[in-house]
């Protein structure tokens, strides 16, 4: 058995399980005079909607905002049904502690897996619709007319027959005392006036003047700051440290150990804490992994390419027979490295602990998991803890992990009553993080005498996130279903877009001791490179155009085909490209959405790439805010292409070698291609937006690079091949 890194498995798991019971989802209300009130005394019409006497509408947002725009999109959905005045909408985050206290009235808090809107659109819209009906009823009661005779629009309720009007703010108090309607039919998206429109974000103004508070900026009277260092070798522990060496340094208040693998210095300011921490002698017990290297991990994974495995993701027909009987056999091995998240705002949290209460202020993608982590670290019941969520300076999956909350609380527990702000330095964040899982993939394709693809075998060898962080979520026999993202036979999440008569996609699970985690796009990132680059290899072997070769396999996958056709048409596939410009394509389904990209690049000197443009299409079913979807598409390419060109974390002596942006670089504006987005919702479902397009960027560029140079790149980052941006 491989060593499994010990990470905050419990707080991940208990995120939703331990903090609360049933799901009442915002429609249940107290009756009679016990109106639930917001902090300013304004009445809750229901858990999602508070209306102030001045007609301001406060929409409660349970999910996290990290730039992806869900805060605005979710507010649009509530406001659409509420029929309120969009210009009077503001938002607030109920705390995870309030959610627990109210039997999870706001449901799931997690903004992971592109789920914020697609998994809550129905109940937040119902919340808006129920509030609207109650507001109308309250006006009708006041006027003593049937509710069927009143209408509501832009926060104004009208009884046309008597020519009377009132506003939401005037009847909210009465509405809050009414019983909610039993059934609340929702509008057809084609009738939407607020949702579905390219509205501007609600949270921009303070981001241009320095007023926006991230948890990095949070302050409290008497607050001290902490800097932390964890064992540089994964699985190592603190052996000893010499606090006396730094206790006399400016501002230093205390040196504390957090858990068995980290030491923190607490000082008046973070700069003082960091400076002292660098001077603190720490002796580490490196544990069993001090000899692990990128080379040793690659050897482990390579052995998995041909090992026996029972973990099958997708199987059709008899692939062995198809390969044995092939007129032409194509074979290739690909690999995908560790990646660091590198959110712009390094991990941080502020905690105050007393024996009666523990409170945390932090940027988290999963407020409930952060609450569970805080309670566990504090040793207090969840009911005595709370987490105040703040805007995230980037998430990308990293902030679904709560170890920085655990550390902040443990340190605060050493100094009861004193607020402690813990900040991980960029160096700690880079070299002591959690990483995109590492895998290799061996692909074998079988073509018959007519160059039809008769068989495809894909063996994925490498890490399983779930096996390490949430073994209880593994499928039968210990299989990790999310390893096969985008390659599944069916389902609404990530279905393969090709019909291949003989197919076997399986996984040899190998977990080297570098902690894996969800990283924007997760396993789709490598699966799209593996499958979509190999499709181009097969098309080449078949002597066919990559688009035509794919189309023949996609007749039973009309939605996959539609996005591919859309990008092909817009990029001008089949027509001559400008002189020196070459094209590449890719498509994939993930997080419930169908995405495709077509890249146009030129290459100078064989290794300098200029990406001129990328055409990208997404069918996310229902587009809640097309303008923000376009931003997520082009933004996802920056994240994905940075990983393609500059990313990849390497391991030496059990440690991640990269420490900061100089060796874990990120693309700049000069390298940014023009992105032409096609948002083409086909209706009838809600797919994710934050992640899907990221995974088609890299294979589209790699396929274009082959078209330009004849060189097939099967591992990333490109810097390892001496390939860079022009």
């Amino acid at each position: 058995m491989n060593y499994i890194p010990k990470i905050d498995r419990r707080s991940f798991l208990v995120g939703t399980a331990a903090v609360g019971g049933g799901l009442s989802l915002g429609l249940q209300l107290p009756f009679g005079p016990d109106v639930v009130r917001a902090a300013d005394g304004s009445p809750e019409v229901n858990a999602w909607v508070v209306i102030r006497p001045d007609d301001t509408v406060v929409i409660r947002i349970a999910r996290s905002e990290m730039g992806q725009g869900s805060l605005t999109g979710l507010a649009q959905l509530v406001a659409e049904e509420l029929e309120c005045d969009w210009s009077k909408v503001t938002t607030e985050y109920p705390t995870p502690g309030q959610n627990v206290a109210r039997k999870r009235v706001w449901g799931d808090y997690a903004s992971t897996g592109s789920r914020s809107i697609r998994e809550s659109h129905q109940y937040v819209r119902q919340g808006g619709a129920a509030a609207r009906e109650m507001l109308k009823q309250a006006a009708a009661n006041e006027w003593k007319v049937p509710v069927s005779e009143v209408t509501a629009e832009k926060g104004v309720i009208t009884h046309k027959a008597s020519n009377r009007t009132t506003t939401y703010g005037k009847v909210a108090e009465a509405a809050a005392k009414l019983e909610p309607p039993k059934e609340v039919p929702l509008k057809d998206p084609k009738d939407w006036k607020i949702a579905g429109k390219p509205l501007k974000r609600l949270d921009t103004a303070d981001k241009v003047n320095g007023k926006q508070q991230y948890s990095m900026d949070f302050k409290m009277p008497g607050m001290l700051c902490a800097a932390i260092k964890e064992s540089p070798v994964f699985g190592g522990k603190v052996k000893s440290f010499d606090a006396a060496k730094v206790t006399g340094l400016p501002g230093v208040k205390k040196v504390v150990q957090s858990g068995d693998a980290a030491v923190a210095v607490v000082a008046d300011t973070w700069w003082q804490a960091k400076t002292a921490l660098e001077a603190l002698p720490i002796v580490w017990d490196d544990g069993p992994n001090a000899k692990v290297s990128s080379a040793s991990i690659a050897e482990q994974l390579k052995a998995g390419l041909d090992a026996e495995t029972k973990f099958v993701g997708n199987q059709q027909g008899d692939v062995k027979a198809a390969i044995a009987g092939a007129a032409k056999k194509v074979e290739a091995v690909y690999s995908y490295p560790f990646q660091n998240h590198a959110t712009m705002e390094p991990m941080n949290a502020t905690a105050v602990y007393t024996p009666d209460k523990c409170e945390v202020w932090t940027s988290s993608q999963n407020g409930e998991a952060a609450l569970a982590a805080a309670a566990e670290a504090a040793g207090l019941p969840v009911a005595k803890c709370d987490v105040h969520k703040m805007l995230l300076g980037g998430g990308f999956g990293r902030r679904a992990r709560s170890e920085y909350v655990s550390h902040a609380v443990r340190i605060a527990k050493e100094m009861p009553g004193t607020p402690i702000k813990l900040i991980k330095s960029r160096e700690e964040d880079t070299s002591n993080g959690v990483y995109h899982p590492i895998t290799q993939c061996k692909l074998v394709g079988a073509l018959d005498a007519n160059n039809n693809l008769t068989g495809l075998q894909m063996r994925i060898s490498g890490q399983s996130i779930l096996a390490v962080i949430a073994p209880s979520r593994l499928a039968e026999g210990g299989r990790d279903p999310i390893v096969f993202q985008g390659l599944n036979a069916g389902g609404t999440e990530g279905q393969i877009g090709y019909t291949i008569p003989n197919l076997l996609i399986d996984h040899a699970m190998i977990n080297p001791p570098i902690p894996p985690w969800f990283w924007r796009g997760v396993n789709n990132n490598q699966n799209a490179i593996y499958l979509e680059c190999f499709m181009d290899e097969l098309a080449l072997a078949a002597g066919q155009d990559p688009l035509e070769f794919r189309r023949k396999l996609m007749t039973k996958h009309p939605k996959h085909l539609a996005v591919l056709n859309a990008v092909a048409e817009k990029v001008g596939w089949g027509k001559p490209a400008p002189q020196g410009v070459y094209r590449g394509l890719a498509q994939q389904m993930g997080y419930g959405s169908y995405v495709a990209a077509a890249a146009e690049i030129s290459v100078t000197g064989g290794n300098k790439i200029k990406i001129h443009r990328i055409v990208a299409a997404t069918d996310c079913g229902t587009a809640v805010n097309p303008a923000q979807i376009e931003r997520q598409i082009s933004g996802s390419f920056v994240y994905g292409l940075s990983a393609l060109f500059y990313g990849g974390c390497t391991v030496k002596d059990g440690r991640i070698e990269q420490t900061n942006f100089h060796d874990n670089n990120s693309m700049r504006i000069a390298e940014m291609p023009k992105v032409e987005s096609i948002v083409m919702p086909s209706g009838g479902f809600f797919g994710g937006v934050g992640e899907p397009t990221i995974f088609v960027a890299a294979p589209a560029v790699l396929n274009a690079f082959f078209a330009a140079t004849g060189k097939r790149i099967r591992s990333i980052p490109l810097k390892d091949h001496d390939i860079s941006f022009a």
Partner: protein, 150 residues
């Protein structure tokens, strides 16, 4: 004790003269609009103007800025009127998470001072800030819009 002029106001600061300006601004003065991203002048989230020149404050020690005029994102608007770059940023809905945007806006404000009508190449050469959400497409459009405004 060092005297600093920040956004037109004088402050007395009594910390180690090697303390980076970034941490003086954030932890001594209380101006948290200037962000910590990398600490090694790579990302530009900490960009401020020192005597009108854009600098990465994480790598400028306090001792180097005594007596100089420092402008942070909080001081970019004048008399309550947003700078044209801030206006363009709002018009183009530029920020996503927004964490890098203070530095990005300060870098662009300086670019436009030196190159009032920047070419694409001027933007490519002059704006080297990291944005992980990838707002570059909107940043470029907003730069041109700001340049075209009064």
């Amino acid at each position: 004790m060092a005297a600093l002029t920040i956004n037109g106001q004088t402050h007395q600061v009594d910390v180690d003269p090697n303390t980076p300006l970034l941490w003086v601004l954030r932890e001594q003065i209380g101006l948290t609009g200037t962000k910590y991203g990398c600490g090694i002048a790579q990302c530009g989230a900490c960009t401020v103007h020192v005597d009108g020149v854009a600098m990465r404050s994480c790598s400028v020690p306090l001792s180097a800025v005594a007596g100089k005029q420092i402008t942070t994102i909080e001081g970019l608007a004048q008399n309550g009127v947003l700078h044209k770059v801030q206006k363009a940023w709002i018009d183009h809905d530029v920020p996503q998470c927004g964490y890098c945007q203070s530095g990005m806006i300060m870098a662009v404000a300086e670019l436009l001072k030196n190159k009032p009508k920047p070419t694409e190449a001027d933007i490519d050469a002059g704006i080297t800030n990291i944005c992980r959400c990838g707002t570059f497409q909107q940043v470029r459009a907003a730069i041109h819009a700001a340049a075209a405004s009064a």
